[in-house]
Amino acid sequence: MSDSNPTPPRRLPPVAVFIGALFFFGLVALMLYGVARSDRPDRDTLPSALIGKPAPSFVLPVLHDPNVKVKSTELLGAPYLLNVWGSWCPTCRDEHPILTRFAETKRVRVIGYNWKDERADALRWLEQLGNPYMLVLADEEGRTALDWGIAAAPETFLVDDHGIVRWKYSGAITQDVLDRQLIPALEKIEAAGKGKAQR
């Protein structure tokens, strides 16, 4: 077998060693970064570039009546919650009961954003599961979604009375997210509104 012939000592090619080392230390650095952020409570809510900036302007048809178009400026004056969903999205179904319960409190306008969906499917979905939305906008091709930076559903944005995006959450909203993030963010907006009204 091969071990019987002693071979002259060789070296691994430096390029291989370099690539190996780069890969190894890169991986270690990446894991370190991951460990450092692993206890951040907000690690699931990836920051949105939109926070603190005006919501993108749009003109979108209403799902239930495509002839009616809604402009973003028409929504100003009071805060609203924009919930991105699609009938194709299983996680949207999971958050649906929680969102419905919250919408029933009428604390804020909850607007649906039906993303890349078939109109018939979307309507059936709402019929089956109930419609918590004051209004559902339809973005069948997903053009406007690009401006919002929507990459996945469900995703939820809180926009204040001046049209500034104040909060965003990617993934299914849970009771915990509602209590600990959304409601505090909403309270901040409400407090700012009251402060101005008193002045």
Partner: protein, 640 residues
Amino acid sequence: MLGEIGQILLILALLAALLQSALPLVGAQRNLPSLVAVARPAALLQLAMVLGAFVVLTLAFVRQDFSLRYVADNSNSLLPVIYRYSAVWGAHEGSLLLWALVLALWTAAVAAFSRHLPAVVVARVLAVMGLVSVGFLAFLLFTSNPFERLLPAPLEGHDLNPLLQDPGLILHPPMLYLGYVGFAVPFAFAIAALLDGHIDVRWLRWTRPWTNVAWAFLTLGIALGSWWAYYELGWGGWWFWDPVENASFMPWLAGAALLHSQAATEKRGVFIGWTLLLAIAAFALSLLGTFLVRSGVLTSVHSFAADPARGLFILVFLALVIGGSLLLYALRVPGLGGDARRGYALNSREGLLLANNLLLSCACAMVLLGTLYPLLADALDLGKVSVGPPYFGTLFLLLMAPLVLLLPFGPLTRWQREQGLRPLALLAPWAGLALLLGVVAWFMAPQGRLKTAAGIAAAVWVAAGTLYVLWQRLRGGGRPSAETTGMLLAHFGIAVFVVGALLVEALSIQHEVALAPGKSVQAGPYELRFEGVDASNGPNYHSDRGHVRVLRNDAEIALLHPEKRTYASGGMPMTEAGIHPALGGDIYVALGEPLGDSAWAVRVQVKPFVRWIWLGAILMALGGFVTAVDRRFRKLPGRS
């Protein structure tokens, strides 16, 4: 008292592991037989201590000793007895203890079955395994102690995660760990060989059955997890490319590559350096998998509570083990004897095994990249990305397609040099048959034609090619060896798996409907009549239990009971799908949300050939086990 005994046993285990790693290493290096002789007894002592600690923790669960924080957090008095046993490994601390126990078991097995190997080699192998034990036992004692007291003891505990209260999950972690940790044996052997600076191919023969058994257990573990996800998560999917699934799949791919390269190295003396690197990689990926699951670095359904201290500890350990191994490899491997100089033509079995290894390694790298990419993108501030089934599914299919195409040639092609297209000529009729059946499938499939045709053609090709080899060997006289039988079984398992994986994707029927009692829905040839939901109670949960009658041509074939369970301890409701299993296809019903007026959202699916996925996995695992018992591996290798 019990808790303290467990604590002391763990400390003793750590000491035994220290002895087991330090003394034999020094002994092997300096040639001191008295120190070399420490390895075996120390390994057995360590096993006794870890087993003792494990039994103590199990007793604490059975007796419901809520003065242990871990017990109080993961069980309560309502928990059925069977789950009190499986709760031992139901969360972080206990599952690490299981890890340590499995490693100690493998170590003891190596100690027991290595009598015919040179004492120095065994001492090094056991010492390396002891070093890994030291890391895990220290991790347990310093950051994740399952014996921590909770005083004053609460009267009642929390609960075992309801997702884990399921028969499928009792065995999933032990199987998975037997696989993961089993790769420590080829790893330890590789390190021992590198330390020695000399590799005897006959020792390598001795590691082959270990790799096969570990890989077979890992296959079973992954299959169990997939089966569990299928019926418990309520989506009817069987693989989700979830980070934690990927974490177990990467060592599986590397292990599959290792099986093949070890065979080539043992028989032909080729790929020596590559085999050693793969042995390191398979175990490194097992450790990485453990790290990813335990640290909460990636978010996934399996995540345990994140604690940076734990994450950091295991990361440092990981970096030391893997970094040290790779450094040793880089320093020592060039002197180990050349594989390039052992000539073989590209058209040879070596060439095909090389292709197998390249494809499996690429698939493994692809899964690693996809799993870590969200973290990488976040670190580089590239924004949020989610890498999902489109990426994994497409690339995996691209990499596996040539593997499946080449597979039947492997066992038919001669070592070193093949004459032209001989194997192709032998298999041409079978290729024709596969194509023909593929075309027939294309025309018969009601939907998903391309995938159905590809699935049938690929499966027939692999199955026919495999059976042809069997026939050829039988005709050549004599019984095929266990090694050959195992290989053919596993390859046949791949054919079965391909049928399941592709046909389920192509032919599944899925309806999501709102059903009031008495209403029906048609799914393929079946009529499913919803007869309402009533409330019932389990030992520790409340259940909404649906009744769905399945009819075909007005004859009843099954009564299914999909459930929605709410556990007394609170939390999200759990779905239990109602399944009518059959080899030809499952009928799958899951309850969604109640819609009022006793109507429910119901998810109805017909999943043709879905069982074949797990059947294929079982055949692959069986192949691994059968290969391992080959008499050739038990023969005493003569002294070099």
